[in-house]
Amino acid sequence: MKALVAVKRALDYNIVPRIRSDGTDVDIAGAKMSISPLDEIALEEALRLKEQNKVDEILVVSVGPAITQDVLRHGLAMGASRALLLEAESLLDQLGIAKLLHALVEREKPDLILLGKQSIDDEACQVGQMLAGLMNASQGTFASKLQLVNDEIIVTRETEAGTETLALMLPAVITADLRLNEPRFVKLPNLMMAKKKPIEIIPANELVTHLEPRIKRTQISPPATRPPGILVKDVADLVTTLNKSGALHS
């Protein structure tokens, strides 16, 4: 069984994003970049399936400029079998990414496609569902538990009211939620070894010709800040203050 894991290169989650001084974009120059956390969870899950001998090949894929190879190397160090970059210099929207992944899926024919449920930067929560739609395949989004049983994948997903379990025929698209697993730490020797591994590069426009984004950013700004608050001295003070503020009235 073959798994394809799509990962996004994004600002590390410990770093507070700032807007560039010219006000045009988020300042990521020199900042630490990583695999977006939920994508890392997706990759970890594929690795675990491989360790259980349910999956025998893991292809880790990313879309972006040449520099994106750094997170693919990290994916190789974690244990992916192969890495592939769909090289695109300009910014794509989610539909564009989904179309590219779809074209790659047709070429690579994976049985299982795993991604994070949303990226840490855009937080759109779209690509997995879009890809599944384009493939006319089953989708198991927001997965907190996976089990491969015969030719099906049993997915427990987080819903608004609790959880739901579905059985999906393969090929299927899974998007990982936070509680699917805790990704492993990568050991230094593995990182060193990953440096020597090849990364296949395919220019994005060789796979899909019309990738012009439908959705474009026209403005970027910081959110409004809250006025500073006050400290109350004890519970009685808190209750009095709350009563005065009207916040307790329904």
Partner: protein, 309 residues
């Protein structure tokens, strides 16, 4: 032309989040059609008809909608889609599972979690856990987007009943099979529409529900939790507030033993009044709190519960 809204319900009632999307849709000044998918439920259609701002209810009734799959609803939306100028829904786990799939089937780019509609094709949304706002513009003729529930007021009811038209559901998608679902039963109000939320973090431990429920009951509040509390198994997943959980903006949010990580703040910093109780005066939660109490939660929580009447 009209706007299509995907309704969400719990089998008994249309969710508040749907009412927020109905209000958001009014910005377009076009007739609003509400798509209701269910396996029965004249009562649901009846409720839908009487929501202010709804001009037509499209009712797709099918047995397999008892446990609706994204695959099925997305193909229904695809079938209807080209008769509309916009298709929207609230950015809830249910609809955000469906709408992107439908958008891809219709070859439309989608905008998620909109907090403001500026014009018929321009929207404001937040990125990086609420740290940055962006304005985005879509060049598609058909606009597809989800809205943040807490950013739009829910539509009220009206006397007038909008007509109901039935639409046929496509044949069920055979490659996905529903097995079961687990609902955590709670008598607390819904997190996404509660006026008051009492929310707890990791230090509450095994006592999470035992300590927060009495306080929540007194205030008629919903209960929220941090990721750390949910990961540790102290609170169910649907209580998680934050960038990867539920985004809320109640009248009052009381954060108890919560550090205030950006991912948590993303889910609650638009609340009207924020109270923080934490024994560490340097905890980041105090930066967004209107009223802070530096204290041990195990000491003050029972006291607070007693003091409220």
């Amino acid at each position: 032309m009209s706007v299509l809204i995907l309704a969400e319900h719990d089998g008994q009632h249309i969710r508040q989040s749907t009412r927020s999307s109905i209000n958001a849709a009014q910005a377009r000044n076009e007739p609003v059609h509400l798509l209701l998918c269910s396996d029965h439920a004249d009562t649901l259609a009846h409720e839908a008809q009487h929501i202010k701002g709804v001009d037509l209810v499209l009712h797709a009734s099918a047995k397999h909608f008892a446990h609706p799959l994204a695959e099925d609803i997305a193909s229904l939306i695809m079938k209807l889609g080209n008769d509309y100028t916009a298709i929207l829904a609230a950015h809830t786990p249910f609809t955000r599972n469906i709408l992107p799939r439908a958008a891809a089937l219709l070859d439309v780019g989608m905008i998620s979690d909109v907090i403001e509609i500026i014009s018929p094709n321009t929207y404001v949304r937040s990125i990086y856990a609420g740290n940055i706002l962006v304005t985005v513009k879509s060049s598609d003729t058909l606009q597809m987007f989800t809205i943040r529930t807490s950013a739009f007021k829910p539509a009220e009811n009206q006397e007038r009943a909008a007509p109901v038209q039935s639409v046929s559901a496509p044949d069920p998608f055979k490659r996905t099979r529903f097995i079961d679902e687990v609902h955590h039963v709670s008598d607390r109000p819904d997190l996404s529409s509660a006026k008051i939320i009492v929310s707890g973090g990791r230090p509450l431990g095994d006592q999470f529900e035992a300590l927060l429920t009495p306080l929540a009951k007194k205030m008629n509040a919903a209960i929220g939790a941090t990721r750390a509390a949910v990961d540790a198994g102290f609170a169910p997943n649907e209580w998680q507030v934050g960038s990867t959980g539920c985004i809320v903006a109640p009248q009052l949010y009381i954060a108890i033993g919560i550090s205030g990580a950006v991912q948590h703040l993303a889910g609650m910093k638009d609340s009207q009044v924020i109270v923080a109780i934490n024994h560490d005066p340097d905890a980041p939660i105090f930066k967004v709190a209107d009223y802070g109490l530096v204290a041990d939660l195990f000491e003050v929580l029972p006291e607070l519960t007693d003091a409220l009447n």
